[in-house]
């Protein structure tokens, strides 16, 4: 329970333990006194009741002591929070975009990925944003959490104190696959990070349509369906998730609902394009409940994804 890997861990856990210890003392006191009185003054042992309607000294005592203690607790919680809100100016900035139902991380050089990689012992500032509804960026091992609110840029920072791989959750309910909106943060030593970061430049959009002419069309598909968030709703192995699987769609008949009318349609390239660009136009029967979000794909990315879906037979 009390292990963790960021500079906030000791502060948060100490505040927690401080409250816990005081609570346990009081709790045991209350419980034992209550049970002891019930046993000791059971009517079989005690027939004479000593009536009393109260005692001012006692009332004052048990008002003042808890007041002092809770003020201490408040202060403990407050200083930890102040630390969390004081973002070091030299912090590395990464964007975490929450969307139904995956996280997308964008680095300063434009590199995009679905797994966060950060350097050890260096402050990292995450700009938490949302593309659709509320989400919450939560790393339990670091004791941080920040809601992703559409239209707002919220910041959260941390400094990892241990290398390793840690869970990232979405902590704000966001619909069907909320509990699968998981991701990982990988903490690596600073030198390793520097090399890794330089290596990402070639995948960044600034480097132009990566792969160029000699690459096979569709080879960037697997990467794109991940970072564009398609796999949160579409599987590539035949299992229906929130949306139909990509496997085997191409070239088959699909039953869709167009303007409330059911019809059969052949899933050709044109159909796939339309499904992605105007998801509301033809809605696949049985999957009408969740609106498929629009993704701003470039022409090139769209072609790559369609080529990739064609291959998945």
């Amino acid at each position: 329970m009390f292990s963790g890997s960021s500079t906030f861990v000791s502060e948060v856990d100490q505040a927690f333990l401080f409250i816990l210890i005081i609570s346990v003392i009081f709790f045991l006191g209350i419980t034992f006194a209550m049970i002891y009185f019930v046993v000791r003054y059971h009517h079989k042992k005690n027939q004479t009741v000593s009536q009393s309607s109260g005692n001012l000294t006692l009332e004052l005592l048990w008002t003042v002591i808890p007041t002092i203690l809770v003020l201490g607790m408040f202060y403990y919680g407050f200083i930890g929070y102040r630390h969390m809100k004081t973002i070091p100016p030299d912090a590395l900035e990464i964007q975490a975009l929450g969307r139904m139902w995956s996280w997308l991380y964008t680095y300063e050089n434009g590199y995009q990925t679905d797994t966060l990689t950060v350097p050890l012992g260096k402050p990292v500032k995450i700009r938490v944003e949302s593309a659709d509804v509320l989400h919450s960026f939560y790393i339990p091992a670091f004791r941080i959490k920040q809601d992703a609110v559409p239209g707002m840029k919220n910041y959260v920072w941390f400094e990892a104190t241990e290398t390793g791989i840690f869970d990232i959750f979405c902590a704000e309910y966001c619909g069907d696959r909320h509990s699968y909106m998981l991701s990982l943060v990988k903490v690596i030593p600073q030198e390793e990070y520097a090399t890794w970061y330089d290596g990402t430049a070639q995948f960044a959009p600034a480097a132009g349509p990566a792969g160029d002419a000699e690459r096979k069309p569709g080879s960037r598909g697997p990467m794109l369906v991940k970072i564009k968030g398609c796999v949160a709703c579409h599987s590539i192995d035949g299992a229906p998730l929130v949306g139909p699987t990509f496997k085997g769609v191409f070239g088959h008949q699909v039953t869709v609902i167009t303007d409330g009318q059911e019809r059969e349609i052949l899933a050709d390239e044109e159909y796939l394009r339309r499904s992605i660009l105007e998801p509301q136009a033809d809605r696949v029967k049985g999957f009408e409940n969740i609106p498929m979000p629009l993704q701003n794909l470039t022409e090139d990315e769209l072609a790559e994804i369609i080529a990739y879906i064609k291959e998945l037979q």
């Binding site: 906030f8 009081f26 209350i30 109260g54 809770v70 403990y76 200083i79 004791r143 809601d147």
Partner: protein, 542 residues
């Protein structure tokens, strides 16, 4: 006679036998008798309670294994929404107020009914209409938003949020009208001689609650209405895509819903303040401290809502101020607990089921309160917010606290309400099962929460698996205890042994009249001459 008031015993027929203008069912659902209305609420609420317990059990079964167990994610999301909506809006908010409050508030202050009996019946009808609306919502694609209906998800989801929200809106009106009725009743209907500080503490709890109902519920009413307008007309108050602000929604929602937790628990505290002096044969310790702390909780409790929003993106200053105020609410709560325990000191204690439930209340509610302090500390809450820690915490307060107090009230007042005693042996077995199951379930949830298990998760990662198994097994004990208790109580109402007028040696006014109470409670309005819990030596030695 050892009563503290002069009460004429009546031989009039009791409220259960009375036949008015209508017969059969009609004589109940159109009755303006506060006692019948209390029982009507009780029947409705417990029917929904059983449904929501079953939903809770299903959720726990789903978590027994990793991956799909008995349902799909979309179903799970609807199940926890429905569980939360029923438990909050249809069960615990009307709660002790609508049932025991309706039945005993007039009797405890020496009145023949509430101030506005017909309005009271109307409140019950609104409850029924709200409940039916909720049922229609269930069968037309229940909302899957959680009971908090957070925007923008609640504006965009394809499920039937509009009706579910409308149901909550109507139920809110029912609550406001009950509050209005009770405030007036307490001000205007007290028997001669019953000054403010001769009122039983249950009445103080209801009085503080009634003010929250009147002042805070309209806020959530407006908020819910705005969601409906946003969904139907797209007015753009909350949804950022339309230029609105989702944080505003959270503020408005919690301005009501935090005070609402005190609205749930204050009457429960009132019940405990009745049970303890009765079974200790002792005057309550610190009457005024308990009475004032109810009012204090109601006042400060309206100013702490932002503690639900530390991670939402609300301002730094707001978070600090809300945290500070939240810690202040802990103090009046602690004062009450100390006074209850002190009341047991040097008493002559009879251990009966109502007392056991009052003790379980103190036990669970203390845990709920202490974990509340952990939630109130900002840096700690950043970590545990929206995890199982919070789910555990609020079940400890609302369920282990309020609902256990309500069970205590059921046992305490059953003889008075129906003139029958409950079956004791089964009652104790059920109690033991409940306490064991409850703590296995929710304590484990809190541990998982600190480890990072988020709430409203259909599935879980392997590191949480053991915890989930323990919690699910706990839920079996708990549910067994609950059903055993309900069955036993239903049996007792019809088949239990005849009860005396004052089986516990209680000192408040309801114990001075026959069981079940006569139609108009009192033949002659009593003259009150003493405080509510003054046990005379005669009673003590018998």
């Amino acid at each position: 006679m050892a009563s503290h008031a002069i009460v004429e015993t009546t031989h009039e027929e009791n409220y259960l036998q009375y036949k008015g203008r209508h017969g059969g069912l009609w004589s109940w659902i159109f009755s303006t008798d506060h006692k019948r209305i209390g029982i009507l609420y009780m029947i409705g609420m417990f029917a929904f309670f059983v449904v929501a317990i079953t939903l809770g059990l299903l959720m726990r079964l789903e978590q027994l294994t990793m991956g799909p167990t008995i349902m799909q994610p979309s179903t799970y999301n609807k199940v926890f929404t429905l569980h939360g909506v029923i438990m909050i809006f249809l069960f615990i908010v009307p709660g002790i107020t609508a049932t025991f409050g309706n039945f005993f508030l007039p009797i405890q202050i020496g009145a023949k009914d509430v101030a506005f009996p017909r309005l009271n019946l109307f409140s019950w009808w609104l409850y029924v209409i709200g409940a039916v609306t909720a049922l229609v919502a269930v069968f037309t694609g229940m909302a899957d938003t959680g009971w908090t209906f957070y925007v923008p998800y609640s504006v965009r989801t394809g499920t039937n949020v509009t009706l579910a929200v409308l149901a909550a809106f109507i139920l809110g009106f029912s609550s406001i009208l009950t509050g209005l009725n009770f405030v007036t009743t307490v001000h205007r209907m007290r028997a001669p001689g019953m000054g403010w500080f001769r009122m039983p503490l249950f009445v103080w709890g209801l009085y503080a609650t009634a003010w929250i109902q009147v002042l805070a519920t309209p806020v959530v009413g407006i908020t819910l209405l705005l969601i409906i307008l946003e969904r139907t007309l797209g007015i753009g108050i909350f949804d950022p895509a339309l230029g609105g602000d989702p944080i505003l929604y959270q503020h408005l929602f919690w301005i009501y819903s935090h005070p609402a937790v005190y609205l749930m628990v204050l009457p429960g505290m009132g019940v405990v303040s009745e049970i303890i002096p009765t079974f200790a044969r002792r005057n309550i310790f610190g009457y005024k401290a308990i009475a004032y702390s109810s009012v204090g909780i109601a006042l400060v409790g309206t100013l702490v809502w932002g503690h639900h929003m530390y991670t939402s993106g609300q301002s730094y200053t707001a978070a600090v101020v809300f945290s500070f105020l939240t810690f202040l609410v802990a103090i009046p709560t602690a004062i009450k607990v100390f006074n209850w325990v002190a009341t047991l000191y040097k008493g002559s204690i009879r251990v009966e089921l109502p007392l056991l439930y009052a003790m379980a209340f103190i036990f669970h509610f203390s845990i709920g309160g202490f974990t509340g302090l952990m939630n109130a500390a900002i840096s700690v809450d950043v970590h545990i917010h929206d995890t199982y820690f919070v789910v555990g915490h609020f079940h400890y307060t609302m369920f282990g606290g309020t609902v256990f107090a309500m069970f205590g009230a059921l046992y305490y007042w059953l003889p008075k309400m129906f003139g029958r005693m409950y079956g004791q042996k089964i009652g104790i077995t059920a109690f033991v099962l409940q306490v064991i199951g409850f703590n296995m379930l929710y304590f484990t949830m809190m541990v998982m929460g600190y480890m990072g298990m988020p709430r409203r998760y259909y599935d879980h990662l392997p590191q949480f698996h053991d915890g989930h198994i323990i919690a699910t097994v706990g839920s079996w004990f708990l549910v067994a205890g609950l059903f055993l208790m309900i069955g036993n109580l239903v049996w007792s109402v019809f088949k239990g042994a005849k009860a005396e007028d004052n089986p516990w040696g209680g000192t408040t006014l309801e114990w001075q009249i026959p069981s079940p109470p006569p139609l108009e409670n009192f033949d002659k309005i009593p003259q009150v001459e003493r405080g509510p819990y003054e046990h005379t030596p005669v009673e003590v030695s018998k």
